[in-house]
Symmetry: C2
Subunit: 193 residues, 2 copies
């Protein structure tokens, strides 16, 4: 979520026609299009939550128009995505890294981990979608193995990142395709149903 303003500014994506794995991928766009596909085809109802904004000043230049002229990004208290699939509550956070060998735990915020832990405790499905953008590989990685790394990260013996190989081994690699772009629910099927 802290990445949001940076992502927003990332409009310099000029190479659209390369193959799926090497293309400069915007994970958020891929997921949003996939969710739209799921919705249209009545497969699942999963939405991205709006970016939380603290609105300070609003102008009304005309009766029915409101322009927000001062606002600030707020730290969200949950993850970016949630919804329902096959009757089950689904919740996840999407993360992108350029690193090829590990996923740095600095990319994740404590409130996201706390929220996904709560979801899991209440019987929901909670996970991360982690994109190794340089490798062109995207994984679904459940909150439970994630927690083993997270909870140890501040111990003298703990590491500050999750090895790529761990995610490759215990996560599920998501196929990159055309329709849907990023069929992560197929991996939800494999892992949770």
């Amino acid at each position: 979520m802290i990445n949001f303003p940076i992502k927003k500014l990332n409009t310099n994506n000029t190479t659209n026609n390369t193959n799926f794995s090497s293309r400069g991928m915007n994970l958020e766009v891929e997921i949003n299009e996939t969710n739209q596909y799921y919705l249209t085809n009545n497969i699942a109802v999963i939405h991205k939550k709006p970016t939380p904004v603290q609105i300070v000043k609003v102008n009304y230049p005309s009766r029915d128009k409101a322009v927000i002229t001062e606002a600030y990004y707020k730290v969200p208290s949950t993850t970016d995505y949630n919804g329902i699939y096959k009757g089950k509550y689904i919740d996840f956070e999407a993360k992108e890294t350029k690193n090829k060998t590990s996923f740095n735990l600095n990319n994740v915020h404590p409130h996201q981990v706390k929220h996904l832990t709560q979801i899991s405790q209440h019987g929901g499905i909670g996970f991360f979608i982690i994109s190794f953008s340089t490798l062109g590989e995207v994984y679904l990685y459940d909150i439970k193995p994630f927690l083993e790394f997270w909870n140890n990260k501040d111990l003298p013996t703990g590491r500050k990142s999750i090895p790529y190989l761990e995610i490759k081994t215990n996560g599920k690699k998501i196929d990159l395709g055309y329709l849907p772009r990023l069929n992560y629910l197929k991996k939800v099927d494999d892992l949770y149903f």
Copy 2:
């Protein structure tokens, strides 16, 4: 932690000993505090979604500060609240009316109805929380009986509102209390479990 929201609400409430129903109630505040209570007590994980905003201009007066200087309200594509309770996906929209005899369907937006219908079709629990603020009564009203009125509203024989008596009869009246303020999950228990 539990006391925090209550203290906050009591600041402008000088007559603490009056009955709950006569107090000037802000439905959104009541629900948010109730959800906070559910979260703190590990009963459910239900959050209000942020207001969707289209951000147009952001200034960076300093490296780590972002000020949004132009933004617009967007029409949301879902409801205000969702989450998980007893392993089930929960989704609802909260509405307040001053009318004592009916709930005007103009208060509801088509995207909210569409979304709740989808949720219901996918096996989730979808409903409205409707506050008759003048009466001091709040009801949980399922999306299914709601749809019977909604789908007929544009017919020559249809009505543009749902009678209070219908909601009183087929909805579930939510107790107004102290902790939690608005224990709507008790009615979810009655209706769906």
